[in-house]
Symmetry: C3
Subunit: 141 residues, 3 copies
């Protein structure tokens, strides 16, 4: 029996502080580069202090309000945290990652991700210091 | 090399206000219609103000309590929201979507989704006004 | 046209109370046993009162703090819950499941899950009594 075709790739997204970083274009370019007509895309971030979300790509205020919400929901310096050695932003970063996504699964149809009109892909950075975030791409075709 | 088989489909779910709408049956029927014995199903909603959850399908109170919880967690009219032009329910809808799922990945085994006994699929509507929600189905076989 | 190869498997994880149970090793062994070089792994839990998370595997305090956070976010005995017949821990368990993951999608590259250095897989048990949790594994290759 023949095996399916797998395309794999990597992206590095550099972040500078807590917020959402759009990266739809980078992923779309990689998908286009594979030439795949129909398939299943998986976007996987190799971290537990940054995560992925699909969110509105129109009004930049949405991303700001979203980041603020998570700041209130899982604040820094909660005296109940045990895990504090890696800094005040680390334990909240794990909580925010658990509440959002480590991976996205997106059908590819007609050589493009089957996103809705207003959907964009974002890296959600939860740490304050600059980071290089590794993302694995997989496209089954 | 041979390519895998891809089945793609679409569902439209009409909603009338904030709550969970069961749609396990519609998805199950589509899976059965493909004739696929073993595969991987992806259910993807093309919106950022409605989302997907897998939840208990037995007691309808679970869905009501779940909707209430998210209403309390991300309430309308929080004066800290910047994004208010699309109505008081819009920014909470983006938060609730980020906290739940845009896509579900479900193995198909023996021509059926490998769901547990009590698991059902729901569209979680976060807007107050009637909506038509577009869902993309992908089955790799 | 040839079909892709599907490997399917099952794991049972026994839990004894609310907390995170690491199971990276069990999944890694199953992936290795398939002999698959490149593919897409799906890990699916067949329950709505236990869920899955990818979290830091270094400091065990992270898992404790994470469990505590969810205990505060969705506490037992909230008088607003309607669904109380299955015990005080049941409705919170559904909320916590909705906020985390029912399935994980992880690319397999070079015969291994493409996890980051600090990433581990956990079953997040939300019920107090001992449970046997069924997990379906699917690897598309």
């Amino acid at each position: 029996m023949q095996e399916m075709k797998h395309h794999t790739g990597r992206l590095e997204i550099r972040t500078r502080g807590k917020r959402l970083y759009p990266f739809t274009r980078e992923v779309a370019e990689w998908v286009a580069s594979t030439g795949v007509e129909t398939g299943l895309l998986t976007v996987f971030i190799q971290h537990t202090s940054a995560s992925l979300v699909i969110q509105e790509n129109a009004d930049p205020d949405v991303a700001l309000d979203l980041a603020d919400f998570f700041e209130r929901l899982a604040p820094e310096n909660d005296p109940r945290y045990r895990h504090t050695l890696e800094g005040p932003d680390d334990m909240p970063s794990h909580i925010r990652s658990a509440l959002t996504q480590t991976h996205l699964s997106i059908p590819v149809i007609g050589r493009r991700m089957a996103l809705g009109t207003w959907q964009g892909l974002y890296v959600f950075e939860h740490r304050s210091s600059p980071q290089r975030r590794s993302i694995v791409l997989h496209l089954a075709a």
